[in-house]
């Protein structure tokens, strides 16, 4: 049951071959971690961070695009609404214009038609008067000749007589 008391100190004295192997192993392990293991993982960490940041940026960009599209859409909508209102107003104005136009044209047409009719009536009346004048003149002359018993040979007498008669008729 005795511990090797004289051997105890040797526990704390590094042996040459132990130093050699410890250093070799440390060198191998450090080389592995420094040159291979850590860079591999660091690359993935960096890539992941970039991906996440890129994703966030992309989402922000998408949000911005969506906002812009929405604003554009709303602007277009309001423009369209204004345009529609304008078109409606224009149409209404046009319509009332057309109606007014039509009405005025109809009125002027009617007036013209009335005037024409008036004129034609007047001319017909005139015509009737003239022809009547002639007829009445001849008739009266013939009648007078018969009454007077003599032909009124002279043309001048004839016409002056007719005229004076007509004047009298007119006055009546």
């Amino acid at each position: 049951m005795t511990f090797a008391a004289e051997g105890g100190i040797s526990l704390f004295i590094p042996k040459v071959y132990d130093i050699v192997w410890s250093l070799i192993i440390l060198a191998i392990v450090a080389l592995f971690f420094y040159k291979f293991f850590m860079p591999k993982f660091q690359a993935v960490f960096d890539e992941r961070a970039a991906k996440i940041e890129g994703g966030i940026a992309k989402a922000e960009q998408a949000q911005k695009d969506a906002d812009a599209a929405k604003a554009k859409y709303e602007a277009q909508l309001s423009t369209a609404r204004v345009e529609a209102a304008k078109i409606r107003d224009d149409a209404r104005a046009e319509a009332s214009h057309i109606i007014a136009d039509a009405r005025s044209r109809a009125e002027s047409d009617a007036a013209q038609i009335t005037a024409n009719a008036q004129r034609s009536i007047e001319s017909q009346q005139q015509q009737a008067l003239v022809s009547l004048k002639g007829e009445v003149g001849t008739l009266a002359t013939a009648l007078a000749g018969k009454i007077l018993g003599a032909k009124l040979e002279s043309k001048d007498v004839q016409s002056s007589m007719i005229d004076s008669m007509l004047d009298e008729l007119d006055k009546k």
Binding site: M1, A4, W21, S22, I28, F32, F41
Partner: protein
């Protein structure tokens, strides 16, 4: 010869108790040369090979979207980077040392865990040399950091004659500081790790050797009841060793980071 005889008599008389001879082993391969190997060194080489293969394959197959194993490895890497290095030195100073501290932490952790892996049954850090080599790396790094950041003169002045101390105190303080800078830091790192591994092995081996003797080899079958107790203790100590393995790797990495950080000027 003598040792073998003692071993034999021990086996006859009582349990095969662990001794410091578990750490002072015969050279099996290349005996007598600088490349001689004993059992602990074989464990160390094997553990290194396994670690490099497992982590090498993991790193070679590393993906953007990690699987379970990769996520676990990444968790450890994140832990070392954020909880040890950046926690102590901050990101600006720490970046340079992340690979070093990761190397230290993972290697020491794997080596420590060999102590409870069946077949290995001894920590690869259970000779004074392996912790000493790691401590030496730490020593070199905090000297380099001090000289690079402050220059040799200013570094030594800051370390040996701390500011804000009355001049006569330097008679006491400076020798202590020299000792601290040259000896205490690396030796304390070494001894803490080494002693933990040695004592851990002895405790676990003691429990299991006693269990073996009480339950199987012992002359008295009534004492087998004691064996149940020692087995439970062995189980508990094995789990405890698992904790100690992680804890010591963490402490070693943490203190190394802290020592390097001390070499930097106080204000960034």
């Amino acid at each position: 010869m003598n040792d073998a005889l003692i071993g034999l008599t021990l086996a006859a008389e009582g349990p095969e108790l662990p001794t410091i001879n578990d750490f002072l082993l015969p050279q099996i391969i290349f005996p007598g040369t600088p490349f001689a190997m004993d059992r602990i060194i074989l464990v160390r080489v094997l553990a290194t090979a396994i670690m490099l293969i497992v982590l090498g394959v993991t790193a070679a197959r590393v993906k953007l979207i990690p699987g379970r194993w990769q996520a676990a490895v990444e968790w450890v890497l994140d832990f070392v980077r954020d909880q040890i290095v950046y926690q102590v030195m901050g990101e600006n100073r720490g970046k340079r040392y992340v690979p070093m501290i990761t190397t230290m932490f993972l290697t020491i952790l794997v080596f420590n865990l060999c102590g409870i892996i069946p077949g290995f049954n001894i920590a690869a850090t259970a000779t004074i040399t392996m912790p000493l080599v790691f401590a030496g790396w730490c020593f070199v790094q905090y000297w380099i950091a001090g000289i690079r950041e402050k220059g040799l003169g200013a570094f030594l002045k800051d370390e040996l004659f701390p500011k804000g101390v009355p001049a006569p105190i330097y008679i006491l303080l400076t020798p202590i500081q020299i000792l601290e800078l040259m000896v205490i830091r690396p030796v304390s790192l070494t001894l803490r790790l080494f002693a933990n591994m040695v004592s851990g092995h002895i405790t676990v081996a003691l429990c299991l050797a006693a269990t073996q003797w009480f339950l199987i080899d012992g002359p008295n079958k009534i004492m087998a009841i004691l064996g149940i107790g020692t087995f439970a203790a062995g189980l508990f100590m094995t789990l405890f060793e698992m904790l100690v393995a992680c804890l010591q790797a963490f402490i070693f990495a943490m203190l190394t980071t802290a020592y390097i950080n001390m070499s930097y000027p106080e204000a960034e």
